[in-house]
């Protein structure tokens, strides 16, 4: 299972490109200001393919990005990735194809002024499918990095705003960092809960901390931990965005800044067990924060703690009546971590809950479209991956779509809003569902 891991050093050394100050526009051609050995390099889509020096330019760039040169050539163009990719389910003619992307990349035909670099949600389905272990996601992220840090092309405007906000405020919405702990402070203190060194540290993440729909996820987690008698703390205003979006959009500099700030705050807390509400956060912290080298300091998705509590009988669960739930496996839980059993075991323990499965489940889950910056991409209606998944949920006969990732939840809610097709579907985080079950227990 291909993992996104740091290359040999995160530093970029791009020796083959020289950015010129003046971008001269010659009539009839697009000039991005790229020069290779002094000559202008043209990358229009309908250029006749000529295999010359500029064809290998992007490959050489990747080589300089510490990636192995032959990663692009390793691809046999077999096409198994394209069908595995969730974008194959969309109907628009210019939908993303991983195979075509690689083919273009190795011939120097990627239109860096176009949008095809930004469609990938980093879901990892292609990595699962590829027989030659081509690290597609890493290649795309590296090329994005080229564009973002070298200014060598087009960045969707919504991404620019997000990156600027992350750099300035540590969250994507220019929200006040001091308000990050508001949801935590509003949790009614339980009798007997002590301050001091809590058992665990909960890394809430941006969406659950600031967004009004998202806060319900954070509050649910908080109430559940209180119910189970587990003392927990948060970083509060010292918590910054985990940086996963910045990293996957290609802004390595901003990612590092966020990472270093978080690492300092975490180390100051001497946290032994860290749980994150979003699988993206735990994944990036595990792989890029140098956490996880020894188990005690491992960062884990909150889902696993929830499973521990439910399976251990530490939560008195009451009946959730007349509900048929279907679980949507977040990509960063199922594909990157192999976690598929635990959420289902939780649902199985909720009395009265009927469960069904969608056509694509477990490791073959269909991406909601939120990863890799997709959250901010503003795809057009009719071109959204979330819509396909919502259709699958309805087809499976569910009236409740349950997930364990704030991105997934947000993507589904955004697509569902104002569209009658899925009005019958309630969208819940698994923590919210467990909380509902707790509330149904007589005497609660």
């Amino acid at each position: 299972m291909q993992r996104i891991s740091g290359g040999a050093g995160d530093e970029l050394r791009v020796l083959f490109f020289v950015m010129t100050e003046n971008r001269e526009k010659t009539p009839g051609s697009i000039d991005y200001g790229w020069r290779h050995q002094g000559r202008p390099v043209l990358l229009p889509e309908d250029r006749i393919v000529v295999i010359d020096d500029s064809s290998h330019m992007l490959e050489k760039a990747l080589q300089e990005l510490s990636m192995q040169y032959y990663f692009l050539d390793r691809c046999h163009q077999c096409g198994i990735c394209t069908e595995a990719c969730p974008h194959t389910n969309l109907k628009n003619a210019d939908r993303f194809s991983p195979r075509v992307f690689i083919q273009k990349a190795r011939l120097g035909l990627i239109d860096l002024a176009g949008g095809e670099l930004w469609s990938c949600t980093t879901c990892g389905s292609c990595l699962q499918a590829c027989p030659y272990e081509v690290p597609l996601v890493e290649i795309i992220v590296s090329l994005r990095n080229l564009v973002v840090e070298q200014g060598a092309g087009y960045i969707p405007p919504s991404f620019k705003a997000v990156l600027a906000s992350l750099a300035a405020s540590g969250n994507p919405w220019r929200e006040d960092p001091d308000r990050r702990a508001d949801w935590f402070n509003e949790l009614a203190p339980r009798e007997g809960s002590l301050p001091g060194s809590p058992e665990i540290l909960l890394f809430a993440g941006c969406f659950p901390s600031y967004d009004s729909r998202g806060r319900s996820i954070a509050r649910a987690a908080g109430h559940i931990l209180q119910e189970a008698g587990i003392g927990f703390g948060i970083l509060g205003s010292e918590e910054q965005c985990c940086g996963d979006s910045a990293l996957k959009i290609g802004d390595l500099k901003t990612f590092k800044r966020l990472r270093n700030s978080n690492l300092q705050a975490l180390q100051a807390r001497h946290a032994d067990r860290i749980y994150t509400l979003a699988p993206h956060c735990s994944h990036v912290m595990k792989t890029r924060y140098a956490y996880g080298r020894d188990d005690a300091a491992a960062v884990k998705p909150f889902l696993l703690l929830l499973h521990e509590l439910v399976a251990g009988g530490r939560l008195p669960l009451g009946e959730v009546k007349s509900a048929r739930a279907v679980f949507h496996d977040p990509c960063y839980l199922s594909k990157y971590e192999g976690i598929t059993k635990e959420p289902r075991e939780i649902l199985a323990r909720i009395p009265g809950l009927e469960t069904v499965e969608m056509a694509h489940n477990g490791k073959r889950s269909l991406c909601c479209g939120g990863g890799g910056g997709g959250f901010w991409l503003d795809a057009l209606k009719g071109e959204r991956l979330a819509e396909i998944r919502l259709d699958e949920a309805v087809e499976a006969g569910a009236d409740m779509l349950v997930t364990a990732c704030p991105y997934c939840l947000a993507m589904f809610e955004a697509s569902r809003a104002g569209d009658g097709r899925w009005a019958s579907l309630e969208i819940l985080d698994i923590g919210e569902l467990v909380l509902r079950s707790l509330a149904e227990k007589p005497g609660m």
Partner: protein, 355 residues
Amino acid sequence: MTNRTNERAPLVLIVGGGITGLKAALTLDDFEIPAVIVEKSGELGGKVRGYAKTFPDFRSGRALVSELVERVDATEKIRVLRHCTVSGVRTEGDLYRVHLSDGTSLGVHAVILAFGFEPFDATRQEEYGYGVYPNVIAAQELEALLDPLGPTKGRLLRPSDGKPVRKAAIIFCVGSRSKRTDSPYCSRICCSYSTKQAIEIKEADPDAQVVCFYMDIRTYDRGVEEMHQYAREIGVKYIRGRVSDCSPLPDGDILVRAENTLLGKPVQGVFDLVSLSVGMMPSPDTAGLAEMLGIELGTDGFFVSADGGLSPHDTAREGIFLAGAVTGLKPIRDCILEGTSAGGRVAAYLRRRRG
């Protein structure tokens, strides 16, 4: 029974009674060298015995085996031990003392390993649903369905409900050319046998739809590319794109999805039957025998010959030789060739050694 009493006569042990082993024994017999064939099953002929038709000229594999067995029976010097395997080997002077599973032992002067290969276990490629969906089968099973002496008497009826197959998909490269399943190699004959099977389906029912999903079409060798062209001329369809998954439909049909990479568009089809053209794995006996004999395996798990390829039948251990699919799957004609040349090689070896 041992041959201690007559140590002047050389004796060769051949492990494996398939076509390679049989041909090696017959060649040794031409040199008047006695051989003992040890065959683990009850029948000689190996896998080729089960092939009603072989590529490229559709001659019967069964008939080929019968011919070889007849010739072996007609000799005096070739002994066959059925239901028998090698359980241990020691050196004893200038002999190898080979212990057999029937409790006996043999003193031999050379051993030829000719016990073939194992087909890839298609359950390891989960997305195709082999072992889960009844109408997803592997090539060996398709072979049996097409065999006039097989369970359906040669009528292509699908497993779930016995319905005649009108639409068949053949998926190439299952368990080959994939690092993901630890089989990065090409298994050489699958493109050829798949094309042969496609032709058989089409010839039996010209209105049937047969679609082959491929990465490349490696129908090399004499007469085989011509067979491929013939396949296209009778309407076998080839779509370039490695299948990403098979999913079951309510009545047992299978939905196959791939990208048509030459068009750059997704393609999907509903088929009555899907056959997975599985590649090779080393025989399960390989690792044990390699250890017993102290000889090397390649990174792909098959035996490697010594001397950088200049002595294709030799191993690093003197007196132990290789022939046939133990060094990788290959066409029948190559196995016959290797059986012949291994016999010659061993004859030369014995002559040089014993004066």
